[in-house]
Symmetry: C2
Subunit: 561 residues, 2 copies
Amino acid sequence: MEHDAEINQRARLRPITEIADALGLGADDIEPYGRYMAKVSMSAVRRAAAGRRGRLLYTTAITATPAGEGKTTVAIGLTQALGRMGLKAAVCLREPSLGPTFGVKGGATGGGLSQIAPMVDINLHFTGDLHAVASAHNLLAAAVDNHIHQGNELGIDPKRVLWRRVMDINDRQLRHIVVGLGAPGDGVVRETGFDITAASEVMAILCLSHDMDDLKARLGRILVGEGRPGTGRKAPWIFAHQIGVIGAMAVLLRDAIKPNLVQTLEGQPAFVHGGPFANIAHGNNSILATQTALGLADFVVTEGGFAADLGAEKFLDIVVPQTGLVPDVVVLVATVRALHYHGGASRSTLHAYDPEALRRGFANLDHHIRTLQRFGLPVVVAVNRFDSDDPRELEAVVAHCQEMGVRAAVADVVARGGEGGVELAETVLATLERERPSFRPAYEWEMPLTEKLERLATQVYGADGVDLSSRARAELEALEERGFGGLPLCVAKTQFSISDDASRRGAPTGWRLQVREVRPSLGAGFVVALTGDVMTMPGLPKEPAALRIDVDQEGFVTGLS
Amino acid sequence: MEHDAEINQRARLRPITEIADALGLGADDIEPYGRYMAKVSMSAVRRAAAGRRGRLLYTTAITATPAGEGKTTVAIGLTQALGRMGLKAAVCLREPSLGPTFGVKGGATGGGLSQIAPMVDINLHFTGDLHAVASAHNLLAAAVDNHIHQGNELGIDPKRVLWRRVMDINDRQLRHIVVGLGAPGDGVVRETGFDITAASEVMAILCLSHDMDDLKARLGRILVGEGRPGTGRKAPWIFAHQIGVIGAMAVLLRDAIKPNLVQTLEGQPAFVHGGPFANIAHGNNSILATQTALGLADFVVTEGGFAADLGAEKFLDIVVPQTGLVPDVVVLVATVRALHYHGGASRSTLHAYDPEALRRGFANLDHHIRTLQRFGLPVVVAVNRFDSDDPRELEAVVAHCQEMGVRAAVADVVARGGEGGVELAETVLATLERERPSFRPAYEWEMPLTEKLERLATQVYGADGVDLSSRARAELEALEERGFGGLPLCVAKTQFSISDDASRRGAPTGWRLQVREVRPSLGAGFVVALTGDVMTMPGLPKEPAALRIDVDQEGFVTGLS
């Protein structure tokens, strides 16, 4: 089989105006970026988002192996299958980050015959949204330091500046830095660092904003630092609106707020918009994209980052309560390979026939199914087929799900595109016909923060409880005292285990969630609880993907995956 | 009069496809970015750049006051005037940098009725070229540090890494930093810093490359650092091609290499492409844009950064020898205000009638006229009219030029657009009819580096000679020894004086050029000689422009200038 990049670049795409037209969007409703990409104008977004006609199919996954198990690919393949069946379907995805594209993971545009296109552009600069987020983020950082340098009227303590800088490159060298060295005119010496752009609170804000005014209000609520505490007084908090560059940040995000429209290899519309991390942020594409798609299509497939305990949980506890975007069905992606892994198989033999490991691995699948059922949502399991899979094991997964009373189907979308997703699509449609969501979040926002944490730990992660570090306890108390106890939680946790320990496979029991630090994301509107070490700036591996990537005189790109 | 941003956003623009069509570019020759911006495809660039049909009108200026004197505006107004006269004219400009847009200077899209549009987009992310340059630059930086971190096979000395990082924000805090702090997995501790993106060597390379292969070859020649010198041996130089991410950098620049097409407020085509600094880089738009325009239009107006001793000199000594792009005429922009300044008037009274200061200020104008004549080029002086100008002084400037045997005209293009530039256009056309360039560069590339410096200092800047610091002398010798003595020079010098001392107005005499440091830009293909302090990362002022900028729900932007 050809490499993804070759398949993608040789595909015959439809002009983006045709894709838009099929959705009822006219020439004035879109702003083209090249021939195959466009942004949807804010007036069209407002019109489309005003009424929901579509059913929302939310794609998530079991706990993945380090390579990823094809959740995006299944979401695209399912959309293509629905399209083949004559249904009006669209897919909503997060947009890729340059860092992973040149690092280990590669791009994020699906694989094989289930891809979105044009993948080279989408994986590189796309329509510039990530660059816009980084510019807005870093303008605020420069303005905060400039405020201190120019007299510091607000009395910001240079040792308590919370706002770091961002860059969309995997660059470990920038994790911990000292800035402001040099001459007196070169700023204030202090410690800080860079995160990757996807980890910027501005990205989370972009994905949660309803319109430009909401975006500005949220940007203004960003906590950038603290002043020095007086005797017996709390340190005053300094917010972005006090710095005064909110308008300029919003100008930089003027186009980024508009959803991007591209297409699948089979010509279904794909809204690819926003890409927040699924650990320190909520890991789902923009609400404007999903709302727009739901106003224009009958079936909207979307997906969240990492497994059901991360991206899906955050969608259900952070996004749904403020938007009402309750999924009609959840598609839970599993692979034989990942089930082997969770059943204890060694990394080098994941592709080999091993029914015993598979059976033991069901513990992870079952845990995620129960979690989603506890949210009151209909579940369909999609077994994403790999070439090396033994048919007996694929059947065993489907049979196991049926024993649990859950519909399941094998998806062969990498090799066969939409055609290979028809069985899954039919299973989803059958579920939509017979089941209705009866949504219950994991917690109510008005509960105290510690109680919300306890709920998540015990009901979603299967922990026995929560252990707070003394720092985390003090930070949670401070948030309650300052009136932010009613915000939802965003737990930053490893994606390689349901627990907070990346080495524990399956469905770990007999453990307690260790919360070491709490960070308010007041602009995004959630409280981040950090468990273990969370990487907000990845590094490059010894042989980064960047070494294999090239482009010829005609602009044809090789080595991108 | 309305503010520039309001005039620009309310203007009725023609679809970019129409602008392209008038140049003979079909729908397949351009890639639209929204309705009013496009990139020209590489195949169309190759076709157009193959044959030159147009005359090249190069715009430069006398030494400016800190506010700038409207060179870009005159270039746009002249193009609009030629268009009004029924001639097929296009303008080529550098693209703006975000840093100054939010800092002191504001954007770079002209003013009043002589602007290019859509100015908000052009001044913000435009088609993403600066972001692409920054990404490519910073990917190389991350790869260099990753190489050291992962075992350092090339033996790069962490104390001799020359490749810094870039950001398109005015952020003094990042000028001098220490990176790689933290745990062992967080990289290698060393000193470095950030420059503004326009100062990146990648930007200079983009502007000087003939095609993708040339771009890759130049990227590969970037000097990223040195190894440790052995006993009695020179430190080995480490080049970017040894790091191995040239293909990935080129992929990031795949679209950035294509010229951008927009329009003037009066509908003439404007190629806005590349924005290298005019101090540590060569300060002119891309050669691909100029060559494309010259293949499609009969009159191509372009401009270089700062005054004739900087942008124009670099165009003539760096760009022309490798492209043959000899200007047919040079338009030298002067203002009454700047002449007052050079005649000794205080900054607060530059707008007041002061014929004595004006007369004294002619020294600066005359110096630049003689410099350009020494290059063998026909010169026309354009007196850019400001509202506060006294008509007697405008006339005095024109009369003075005529006494020197140089044609001159008042340009009233801010207030009246192309109509206000017709007199200037007629003067230019008359000059084209009567004079032919007989081009002589300031030096031949094969001269030794010190001799080339001497030539520039005495013949272009009016110095008595050159004083080299011991460091600069050693660096020049090392370059000659390593075989790079045949490269042209790029002198980084203050833009506020013809001398190397920003406080010296007029045409200073009796001084020697102080060269303190020499840096090879081997990818760009020139040797940078630094005189005095050259700022490669600006800071924000106490009241940055960012504080005044805002955007409303409909996306209408205010406060941008």
